[in-house]
Amino acid sequence: MFDLFTFVLQIIVILGTCGVTGALFRRFGQPRVVGEMVAGVLLGPSLLGHMAPGFSGLLFPPSSLTYLNALSQIGLILFMFLIGLTIDLKELKHQGHAAVMISHISITVPFVLGSLLALYLYPKLSDESVSFNSFSLFLGAAMATTAFPVLARILAERNMLQSRLGTMAIACAAVDDVTGWCVLAYIVVLARTSPSAASIAQRAAGLIVFVLVMIVVVQPLLQRFETLYRERGRLNEMHLTFMLVFALSAALCTEWLGVHPLFGAFLFGGVMPKEETFVRYIKDRLETLVTIVLLPLFFAFTGLRTSIGLVSSHQMWPYCALIIAVATLSKLGGSAAGAWLMGMRPGEALQLGALMNTRGLMGLVVVSIGLDAKIVSPALFSMMIFMALITTLMTTPVLDLINLLARSKKKLVAENKFAARDVT
């Protein structure tokens, strides 16, 4: 039975904890969202459940988690709509060949290395109920993810959004996100359908028809929202309500097609008009509720399913370390190598690699989908949550380190020049 008191208490505790850890992490130069992700893990069996199992059981009784999950899923649907709204693939045209090359390398290298790692992990961390194809493609997709919103926030906080590196990173992350979600949609279809080729083809065909309808029919109709905004300088409540109704309907369609509701919401956001002030207007109306209230619920729900105990044995840590190492080397190394080959300076290429290695919230979303679709086991889920957390946590220090090394190298070159002039 629904217990309103417990539910409201859960929300108070979650928002309070996320607020405190978010502020704490900001003080240490990390994006607030990283602190909120950590808060989720702290509220779960890894800390609260371990230190005070009685209190944890009272605060988060298993029967109450259904409501928490439902609300967090609504938050995620709206969040994915906002992500799709922000992404403008036309920006890629301004970046030329380089962005295409770097973004494609930054997807394929981690994707293929992740799938290769699956050859080793499948007999150890999966079982016969999961097909190898789903497992390996999922591992690849999880490694290839980049957290577009976290990356944008890091760039904004470092005043790099308008720099060459910043615009390139944003363009590449946008391509990564779109590709990643397409691949993930396919994997979920693969995992949710019976293994017969006909039923997979049926669902894939349904998905393709849905995407085409969204692009050919819905996209031109959505221009009406932008026209109204341009004419009146604002949208009234009815327009915003319909926009949300359409976003939720798109999410419902993809759920019905057997993919995932998040894919529909993301696609709906993607086909929305991209005029800058219009996008800003919509984001201003939704972002606060989504990021301050609803996303922390998702972090908490993810944290409640993450258990450090599942990774703490001496057998499990090496797997966890291996996953983090492959994820970091393939994403950071692949993106940096691509950028360097396309003519970026080594320092700049490494910075781009470090930025692309930020998995953050998107990593959490992808891994949660894997757990819900029963593609990943509970222990692998916990390991991949740690992978998403650590790769996000390391972004700022790695960027600082690269900057420091670049500065000291510049200083050294300048000193050498000065010394050479003295000698001559």
Binding site: P53, P62, H97, M101, H104, I105, T108, V109, F111, V112, S115, L116, A118, L119, L121, Y122, P123, K124, L125, S126, D127, E128, S129, V130, S131, F132, N133, F135, S136, L137, G140, L310, S313, Q315, M316, G334, A337, G338, L341, M342, S377, P378, A379, L380
Partner: protein, 166 residues
């Protein structure tokens, strides 16, 4: 084709096209791999011997002849617990069709006058051939020559039944 474009094509081929092609090879190799038997879920635990020492160690297991054995599986690594029963969770593994797990019950979970505190319980079981829905095995007290092992049989509950119960 200009030299710049040629370099771009060569780089793209080596770093994008080739890895994608190699993915097909990875998937083909992987499809030959066999994952551990899936045993995740709730099992109806039925003891097949009367009140033995092994069961006397735990607070609630001996009270009823039928309890549930919860198995949380992550590949070949398992976490087992009894319900109703102790909050102790036994780490275990599955190799082929053989399951092995070791319980170290907390002091508060032990029955007074039961087994000594420093004696863990070992669960060994085998999944029935051709039917991954049943297993037979023993639960025994380690380092106790006078303790008799408990023989048991467990049947996997269908997931629909578990959902209904929840």
């Amino acid at each position: 084709v200009s030299p710049v474009n040629r370099n771009f094509i060569v780089c793209y081929f080596c770093l994008v096209v080739l890895p994608i092609v190699s993915l097909a090879g990875i998937l083909r190799t992987g499809n030959r791999l066999k994952g551990p038997v899936s045993i995740d879920g709730v099992w109806e635990f039925q003891s097949q011997s009367e009140g033995t020492e092994a069961l006397l160690c735990l607070q609630s297991v001996p009270e009823s002849r039928t309890v549930s054995l919860l198995i949380s599986q992550s590949g070949k690594y398992l976490r087992l617990s009894f319900t109703p029963g102790t909050p102790s969770i036994a780490p275990g593994t599955i190799e082929g069709t053989l399951i092995k797990a070791s319980f170290s019950p907390h002091a508060q979970d032990l029955r007074q006058g039961g087994c000594a505190r420093d004696r863990p319980l070992t669960l060994t079981a085998a999944i029935s051939k051709g039917d991954s829905g049943s297993m037979t095995g023993t639960l025994s007290v380690d380092n106790c020559s006078s303790c008799e092992s408990l023989k048991f049989r467990a049947l996997r509950k269908p997931s629909a039944e578990i959902k209904r119960a929840n």
